[in-house]
Symmetry: D2
């Protein structure tokens, strides 16, 4: 198989200085291509062994797929139906509607890919113990998600080539807010675990109107009932090796270091000769101390969870801390990369929403009345 | 309509300092929303006139499309058939095959968009005279093509997250080179006018095997028989206003300036005290002079066209020169942007091929034997 | 001059099929390079005229600058002083501090470029009438600013390769908030006109501490006292040709169209058979009507200006509206591009702040105590 | 320290539902900020221990650096000297020269960063054994180089906003090719090991003219005499654990698998019913077999090294193969990432050169005479 975008070319004439093919270079004086083949096989010491039966049978020529069939292009490239052409008495399409359709279809194909990756990662994590060789697979797939989200953030820019005035010409054909929702995007939010409990209740009501299709509703149901990536990560972090190790005693050591550090900061601050700088420093130390409170005070941590300011258990945070502090240890290198990539994805989804928000503001203004909710002010709060 | 990715939210509580809605601010003391509506309409001086019949009837609620239906997602998201799952006795899909499919399907959707834009631009150019207001439309659509190609260049990077070893696991199911070609990419090349005459003959033979479908062949035929964008641009450049203006006499003035410039360079070079620097400068002047030859010498220009080093007529080049030199004149501002964007697109398609080339080299090596042609050495020459 | 990154290469051997140099192709049978030079000059009809005295004298070989000297690299590449190496008793630099320095130095170089472009654009706009050929220059420079901001948005990503824990190792050497401010970024905000009056007063107090250098303070003073880009754009929009044209009467026509449109929407809504959809539609129409209020009601517009929800005069908005609605007219094409690019820049600066915000949150947490203000919660509000 | 680009803001008023500061939430009923501080310290069990002497003394307020001083901005932002302003009798700067200077200065700052990273990686690799915890550091720094090169590839695009005609206005002040070379770029090539032996000899002559400064020449000398990254990687790969393990016997197993695979392919090909497909398949198998030759045939491998088609030893390639095949094993995960990142960097440097090449072609044409070497045709060959 080769690059489907390559031009039809005659092979370059091979000349002695360039070619590495059998016909030009010999080993042990043998020439001739079939001899060269036998020759190489014999170098492997395998010349006389038959093909093992468990190797997959290669497809014969009639089973091979063409580019067109493989990618179902006859279907996919026939799915752009412009409403402006359909409804207009004169059947004059609004030119920019085609871009609107294409860009959302490509978003949805990439969403499908992201869901495919997340599901495979959740499956790996949904075990008592995650194998070390599987760490490698998880890191690669999370990194792939990061690359895809980076592309999607850039992709929004293409929609900026459609002016608001052009958009107005066909958007009246599109459902109001409650009917114009992406199912896959909801699934991504749910499967990542970005959707908190309160919104799930709130959403449930909306789902009735928005996703009338029973299959869709089952998928949504499944996405909140099966363990989310965040939940699985939380359990995995709670199992971080060494947390309970009484010989090393990580937590005690950590608390000691923190206390030591805070005392040291306090001493430094008190030694500051300049009074204004001294007050500022002391205030500074108090705030620094405060950020550690939730690590040592379980009730306080739980209050933060109630308020939505923490999303995972205190023990899980301890696991994350241990991994971060000892990230150069072989056993924690991949776990650290995993934590890092999850934060990258979180930041990218936020940037994507924000870019989309800015775009919508330019397209439909700050307080655009539409049926249902939405409008710029509402979308703003999704970027918390 | 609103952002399909927005969360379901209750509207923000409006308070006096934030709201600009009718209910909070009054004009002439009127309050109440329906009154505000009447009030605004009356401000327009239009209160008593009926809706004009020629405004399109808005669709009623049963005609509105949902996000899912509008984008035909049930079809599009059901078109990812993995060969590795289909053929394997154990039906174990190769995970990365899904990415391979998705990325090529999104490439093809964007190719469709690019063809849609090029065709609309070709239609505008295919007239005796291109209206000035249409210049604006052409510039916008060419810029959109540039943004899309920039995205596609970045998109190749996502395929780099699939290792060559993963790729090997499923590529044996895909057709060899001659059967794995993108029709739309050929159409783009042809419609831009990037495919020169010799390759068109050469390709014609290959089309028989590669695109057996009659509809496909007709499209290819049409893409070489109807005027390409390059041909239309050439004709448009030849019509550049002012070229024949005997009062201003652009061409004579230009030749004079060039001669003046070359004489000046020659004099400067001869004045250079340092002998080595003098020789270098004189050599330099000769080469500079040489680049102007084809502008003044029509036979020479035609030789370059024969050799494929020039693609448009001498008169067209004169037009382009005039536009470039006087680009700040109102009449030439948009034409200059058009020329500029065409060069951007040309550079981007080249970068895209190159990025694809590097990727293929990593995936399948330098001289990978496959049925038909292709392989890295061959692809390299597409980046001339 | 050539590419400073090119390898040292011997020139390719020229052969007849590739070369276009004088030595291989002749005109009128002449060969030999100096003859070819004379020949080309004579084609221009300029053979016998001397170099005009007003052409700039080319620099002689001893005046030419090398890459190193031209770019002052000996200075610039000697300006990375790591605090962690300077203060540590053992002089062990924190590796990542070098990246922190380099990335901020490059940000500052690009800020200087942006200021250079803005100042040149402000100078062009600060006239009674802006020449049409200068429109072209403005569009190019605004587009350049857009490209630079896009790069700076991506550049933030490189700082994400420095983990918070690495950052902690050297940041104690850096001034607290009040002393760690970028002057150029303030200048950019002020010169664009992004800084509203209230913040200018507030800032003035802070400037005393933050920018003790008198030259810096003068620059800041100048940036708020001379007309900002936004002010100059406002005046330019108010002068939009056609606004006062009583023959065409744009404003009356516009009000009529709006009234017509609102009446039409109202009629459609009242015709909607489904009661729920009907109520939603009517509510929708009221909100739509409301967005037009500030266009027709000058007192209301001024209230919005007071509240910071509008930044330019009502007449300027009328100018912008006219340009947008008639953007395909030759006289409005460049003005429309200018408005469009300003909006792009505004969006990009917002995205840049947001990206920086997310980064800071990861680096120093949500409520990091530091001297002065700042911390994540505060920075959030800059992204309004 | 805070974000240097933040606006001056008053802290948000804290209210009970938002604040996590000491003053609002208590533990054990204590309130008051200093008490909260003591309270937290006591939670650590550290209340009574003094600051350990080995913690670095924090700088006092007079030692802290401001943003300006830290980044030496007074120097860096004063290093943009436009030749067009300097030499012109009327001192009118060519506007675009400023961009030309800034963009090359930022390239050079990033080159310095890349050299800083490479040198630190070379230092780690230049040992008998590379620690596993250092693997992590190497992966992070290589990834950082990848991110920087991605940015530099995009950065070239900004130079495209300068038209060739603008460039012509000031480039006559710049040295011809031989004097306009980037030292750091040469160092990067040499330190990576991209410069092969023949070019080093060739270059040595040019260095005399191009880099007259003795310090520069010493750096270049050092960069070819000390082990390059490629050489160190080669030695590291040759030490891949398991290569000599006679119990596992990787190499014998590998040869066996290859022979098995080739035999299998051959059998499949011979079974193909369609004669044309059969011939194509057999030809295919021969080519596939050929790619393995250099792995088993040491003389052949050395011939390829002589011709520059292989850059590292056969044993090093065996090491790379082992790492790739067993990349999911814990011990090979980081090594595999290292190999992968090196290939990414190689591809990116090639794309950067190519983008630069395309730009130069647009700026100065295909065969632009300049003193010394260069021009488009020459630059092309750097992208082999």
């Amino acid at each position: 198989m080769t690059c489907p975008y390559a031009r039809f070319l005659e092979p370059e004439p091979t000349n002695e200085s360039n070619s590495t093919s059998s016909s030009n270079l010999t080993v042990n004086g043998t020439t001739g291509s079939s001899d060269a083949l036998t020759e190489i096989i014999s170098m492997t010491g395998f010349a006389n062994r038959p093909a093992k039966p468990e190797l997959k049978r290669l497809p014969s020529s009639d089973e091979l797929v063409t580019y067109n069939n493989y990618l179902r292009l006859h279907t996919i490239l026939d799915s752009q139906i412009l409403m402006s052409a359909k409804h207009d008495i004169n059947k004059t399409a609004v030119h920019d509607e085609h871009l609107f359709i294409i860009i959302h279809q490509t978003f949805e194909l990439w969403f499908k890919q992201i869901i495919y990756e997340i599901d495979s990662i959740r499956e790996i994590f949904d075990k008592e113990k995650v194998d070390e060789s599987q760490m490698f697979v998880i890191v690669n797939r999370l990194n792939r998600c990061v690359q895809i989200w980076r592309l999607l953030v850039d992709q929004i820019g293409i929609l900026e080539t459609m002016t608001p005035l052009d958009f107005m010409e066909f958007r009246s054909y599109l459902s109001p807010a409650s009917g114009f929702q992406s199912l896959q995007f909801r699934l991504i939010e749910n499967k990542f675990g970005l959707t908190d409990k309160s919104r799930i209740q709130h959403n449930a009501t909306h789902y009735m109107n928005t996703f009338p299709n029973e299959h869709d509703r089952n998928e949504l149901q499944n996405s909140v009932e099966t363990p989310t990536l965040l939940q699985l990560i939380e359990r995995w972090l709670e199992r971080t090796p060494g947390l309970d190790d009484t010989t090393f005693n990580f937590w005690e050591r950590f608390k000691t270091s923190v206390g030591e550090y805070l005392n040291f900061l306090k001493t430094n601050a008190e030694d500051e000769p300049n009074p204004t700088a001294k007050d500022a420093s002391l205030e500074d130390v108090k705030k620094t101390a405060d950020t550690f409170r939730s690590l040592f005070d379980e009730k306080f941590h739980n209050q933060l969870v109630q308020r939505g300011e923490r999303r995972i258990s205190q023990r899980a945070i301890q696991g994350a801390l241990m991994i971060s502090l000892y990230r150069e240890q072989p056993r924690f290198q991949q776990p650290y990369q995993i934590i890092s990539l999850l934060m990258d994805i979180d930041a990218l989804i936020t940037k994507w929403r924000y870019g989309h928000l800015i775009l919508v503001q330019r397209q439909i203004g700050n307080k655009q009345g539409t049926g249902g909710s939405a409008g710029y002010s509402y979308l703003r709060s999704t970027c918390r």
